[in-house]
Amino acid sequence: MVDRDLVEQARRGDREAFTVLVHQVSDSLYAVAQRILRDSSLAEDALQNALVLAWRRIPHLREPERFEAWIHRILVHACYDESQRARQWTANVRVLPMDGPSTPDGSAVIADRDQLERAFRRLPVDQRAVFVLHHYNGLPLVEIADMLEIPAGTARSRLHYATRSLRDALTAEAEPVVKGGRLA
């Protein structure tokens, strides 16, 4: 939780106060951006742009106590912009390191993650955003809708389609192997 006084000071143009806020929220913002965009340099650009835009617009922030939701909304929109700007990325993506915890069935886990990675990258960025905010940040759909200023039904539908698309993609990848012993 950020300090409301800092937000008020930043609203009045205090750069030092805003710098403190930046240090308080940038890790969380970057983590979200990286997970939505699945690319480190795009996430860095989104973070930078979101922080600069937040500085410009913070005088308009009406409810200082909602600073974090507000700046996350700015970040998500910055992610939309970066995603659009980098549409050609699919041929040149940097895949996240898959060095998660080892398990007895490590190969299956890695295969699942690899499938998830590929399927997730194919989702529209607005569905990815809702998926990440729900499953990574743990936000209820109502809060996500409020944060992104979209109807709750839209948030629900984006999560639904994201989940369904991931499931379908994973099923499609799995089925040829199971049924025919051939790669798709």
Binding site: R15, F18, D27, V52, H60, L116, L166, L170
Partner: protein
């Protein structure tokens, strides 16, 4: 892994794996840019807005907005004529445009047919609006000295998905002149109503525009929208009419043209309360 529950479990675990710290270089680069980036002005709705903006700035912003809109209109839609209005002359000088600030500009946004009539249960006016718009009548009176932020129950609101019209009114305090009310409302520090901004016709009465197509932010009905705000005193009542969303000056004017004032029908708080609170305003 393809049932929803195991998929979600796997997805959560997968999402947990990414980085959790912002690279220092990204944060430092952002702070560097912030160091040379000015903040935007706080453009809020009425009461609180105007004390931050002087009339000259408003006029300059209005001129810039008119030039930008007019220029974009001429460049992007050279062959289309506007709805019911002549096309602007491409040779109009900045001075000519500035002198026309109080005049509706040709509208590239189509004004819907204003076929329905809303009569306020509390604020003493009626206005026409398009079919299908949502009505939220005021349920309280607008107490003097309080702001008319979005959602204030003193506002009559008429809206659709991307445009909103809100109106509030209050009785002038005992002995308060229209000029005094308007200057207090606009908070320009001026001594006459003209400091509010350019004149505008509202249902045949002369009012003033204190927000003339400024970017609407912080609670606007739609991202990227603009806000218009006009104030007028009729029959001993101060009226504030605000529209935000995807509209332009001509669109705003089209609604203002349909306003009909009926000050005696307005519902006010008890007079003693009005006088007491009004003194804090003026």
């Amino acid at each position: 892994m393809t049932d929803d529950r195991s998929l979600e479990r796997a997805a959560r675990s997968w999402l947990e794996e990414g980085p959790t710290q912002a690279p220092d270089r990204a944060v430092e680069a952002a702070l560097l840019r912030i160091g040379s980036t000015p903040q935007e002005r706080d453009l809020r709705i009425p009461w609180r807005l105007s004390k931050m903006i002087n009339p000259a700035r408003i006029a300059a912003a209005a001129v810039i907005a008119v030039l930008a809109v007019g220029g974009a209109f001429m460049i992007l839609r050279p062959s289309q004529s506007s709805v019911g209005a002549p096309s602007p002359s491409p040779s109009a000088s900045a001075g000519a445009v500035a002198s026309a600030v109080g005049t509706p500009r040709p509208s590239p946004i189509t004004v819907p047919a204003l076929t329905q009539t809303f009569t306020s249960p509390r604020n003493g006016f009626s206005v026409k609006y398009p079919t299908g718009w949502t009505i939220i009548p005021a349920t309280q009176s607008w107490a003097a000295g309080t702001s008319t932020d979005w959602g204030n129950p003193a506002l009559d609101a008429i809206k659709t998905s991307d445009v909103r019209l809100v109106v509030a009114s209050q009785r002038l305090a005992s002995g308060q002149t229209p000029d005094a009310w308007l200057t207090a409302y606009c908070k320009t520090g001026g001594t006459s109503a003209s400091s509010c901004g350019p004149q505008i016709k509202i249902g045949g009465e002369t009012g003033y525009v204190d927000l003339d197509g400024e970017p609407a932010v912080g609670g606007a009905i739609v991202a990227g929208g603009v806000i218009f705000d006009a104030a007028v005193v009729v029959g001993g009542r101060g009226y504030v009419i605000t529209m935000d969303g995807i509209l332009d000056r001509a669109y705003f004017q089209a609604f203002l043209d349909t306003v009909s004032f009926d000050a005696p029908s307005a519902v006010d708080p008890p007079k003693a309360l009005t006088s007491a609170t009004a003194s804090a305003t003026s």
